[in-house]
């Protein structure tokens, strides 16, 4: 198999999925009316509701949904062989992913701009909203654990990486200062900060600078490195979570965008020029993978984003749906961005399969650093546009680290608000931003230090997919209440629900058994308890959802 053939298959999936299936659903079932006033226009308040052009929203939606998920999932799932991963990315997006993202814009747009929290309260049950919030909190904690281990333990401990990260963050701070305080032109700001950040990444991998960090790592020892760098990661997250958003998070994300976008662009061009074959990379390695589990259900939660992701429904309903100018814009924005994310997932799969140089090379790189596969693959692609691998690999690692970090401090920001809201009245100290952030960071550190990465990743996917099945349930109930056909959301929702419960059950039991056998006791107990909590929430949700479906089914004849 050749990389170009896979790209063509992906393009066909997008053409058929978006051009035929999605358009048909949009035209025949949802029937958007471009003349109907959307919440963005009706309730324009300059805060939450503001109309924006569909092209701008497409860019905004894509940037909001695409990050490490579609990159990490396919790399882990490649262990079953490239074919199951590729099929799930394409078919998952075709039948489920775009459906959820598109419907998550349509339903709030036709429900006065309500978010999924309010919709689950109204359409399912009051406790459905509380369950959604539990899913969100656990999901975010698992993100901190999964990304924190990769960034803190694996990437930042590489001597060529920390200086590059420091450069990007410092340039982010400079970008904020130049824009907000010195009132400088955005183009000048961008050129200066991005060029200096790239220079810093290059400087970081030179012998002198990387030697300093190597010396530090040697002084710390193997155990010390695993404690020190996650703490550094948490300090960065702390600053990002408590400083004003204009000072840290926004400008750092902006500079990071350039680092990431230019890397992706270079990688795709390099891949097209090189168009490597998969070599001896197997299409299918077997029904079960050691350490992960059976293909069904684990593959379907391992690749969450890139095929279907529940988080998209929250972002779409609270952000994008309130900015849609015309109802007809929902498909290109929601559906279009999801198909673009599918393309990102396919490219990530290619970095793991075609770019690493075969099965043995993949296994070797994966064993030494999970997402490091992407850095090595990206460096191989970039080498075909003249960028040396000695720079490409650290650049790929900085690329992934900064991609994860920019998310992590926003997650901590969210977690401290959530803990203040939930427990602020009982424990007033949590209302203090520093206390709330430190509590979130300590919980994250516990997961990072004690957890088994593959287990955390599967649970992270499970929490995410459970939110997806909740979103699809809400959409189904809404379609039923409107007297519209609903099979296109009901059956994907049922599939995701059953698959996710099976995946969480398998992973939870496996983690608890490992704990009882004395392997990584704390981490495995935490994983097992989180899995059981998610299953319990899912069962309550299934019960309430089933009752709501029957209520609506009695009121409206089935279609």
């Amino acid at each position: 198999m050749n990389a170009i053939v896979v790209l063509v298959i992906g393009a066909l999936g997008i053409g058929l999925g978006y051009g035929w299936y999605a358009r048909r659903i949009d035209r025949d079932i949802v029937q958007p009316d471009p003349k109907k006033a959307t919440p963005a226009k009706m309730y324009m308040d300059g805060v939450d509701f503001t109309p924006a052009s569909r092209n701008v929203l497409f860019g905004y939606q894509f940037k909001s949904i695409a990050a490490l998920g579609p990159i990490g999932g396919p790399i882990v799932a490649a262990q079953w062989g490239w074919l199951p991963a590729l099929l799930w990315i394409i078919l998952g997006t075709f039948f489920i992913g775009w459906v959820q993202d598109y419907a998550s814009i349509i339903v709030p747009m036709r429900s006065e701009g309500d978010t999924f929290g309010a919709l689950s309260y109204k359409l399912i049950s009051p406790r459905a909203r509380s369950i959604l919030l539990i899913f969100i909190y656990l999901y975010l904690l698992l993100i901190m654990g999964a990304f924190g281990q990769v960034i803190g333990v694996l990437f930042l401990s590489k001597p060529a990486v920390p200086f590059g990260i420091l450069s990007v963050i410092l340039m982010g701070l400079l970008a904020g200062q130049m824009t907000y305080k010195w009132k400088q032109d955005i183009i000048l700001t961008t050129v200066i900060t991005v060029v200096v950040a790239f220079f810093g990444i290059w400087l970081g991998q030179t012998g002198f600078i990387s030697g300093i960090f190597e010396g530090l790592n040697n002084a710390l020892g193997a155990g010390g490195v695993k404690i020190f760098w996650p703490i550094v990661t948490m300090i960065i997250c702390y600053l990002g979570a408590v400083l004003p958003i204009w000072r840290w998070a926004q400008p750092t994300n902006y500079v990071s965008f350039w680092i990431i976008a230019l890397g992706m662009l270079g990688g795709v061009i390099g891949m097209i020029i090189w168009h490597p074959s998969f070599g001896d990379f197997p299409a299918f390695t077997g029904w079960s993978v050691a350490g992960l589990g059976p293909l069904w259900p684990i593959l379907f939660v391992t690749i969450a984003c890139g095929a279907i992701s529940g988080w998209h429904s929250l972002v779409s309903s609270s952000g994008t749906a309130r900015q849609i100018e015309k109802e007809t814009d929902a498909l290109p924005v929601g559906g279009g961005a999801m198909f673009m994310e599918m393309a990102l997932g396919v490219i990530s799969l290619l970095t793991a399969t075609a770019a690493t140089g075969g099965w043995d090379a993949f296994k070797e790189v994966y064993a030494s650093g999970k997402f490091g596969v992407f850095a090595v693959g990206l460096a191989a692609f970039l080498s075909h546009i003249g960028i040396p691998t000695s720079f490409g690999v650290p650049y790929g690692m900085v690329f992934l680290t900064i991609m994860g970090l920019t998310i992590m401090y926003l997650v901590v920001r969210f977690m401290r608000v959530a803990s203040a809201e939930f427990l602020g009245d009982t424990i007033p100290a949590l209302k203090n931003i520093h206390v709330g952030a430190i509590v979130a960071l300590i919980l994250s550190l516990i997961v990072i230090w004690t957890g088994v990465w593959q287990t955390i990743w599967v649970l992270f996917g499970g929490a995410n997919q459970m939110m997806a099945s909740l979103a699809l349930l809400i959409v189904t109930l809404w379609l039923m209440s409107q007297g519209k056909k609903y099979a296109w959301t009901l059956w994907p929702g049922v599939f995701m629900y059953v698959t996710t419960i099976a995946a969480l059950g398998y992973t939870g039991i496996k983690a608890l058994m490992a704990a009882f056998a004395g392997t990584k006791v704390t981490g495995n107990i935490i994983a097992g308890v989180v899995a059981l909590a998610l299953i319990a929430c899912a069962l309550i949700l299934g019960y309430d959802g089933g009752k709501a479906l029957m209520r609506k089914g009695e009121a409206v004849p089935a279609k």
Binding site: Y43, D45, L57, K63, S64, F116, A118, Y254, V411, V417
Partner: protein, 99 residues
Amino acid sequence: MEIPKRIRDKIRHAAHTAGEIFYGMTIFDWLRGLRQQRGEIERLFVLITFGDIVGLPILPPYYSLRLLPYVIPSLNRWKRSLLRERDLTDLAQLIEGVD
């Protein structure tokens, strides 16, 4: 050789679309954040001057009558925006690029 107008228009349209998408991916969020900040300050200003409309026990300041004509057109939107029920899922949009 001159490019036909039809093709020129198409190129211009494609460039405009690409520019908008690019804007959406880069600084749209910054501007949106600033707009939101301004909107929130305005919302609070209307609250402290016309809070009695929504039952807030304030003594209306003497200049509120002079401001009334400017506030009337957006009064319903302001009331809805202020009184709308919110929960944590409203904040999900803040965490971009999680997955």
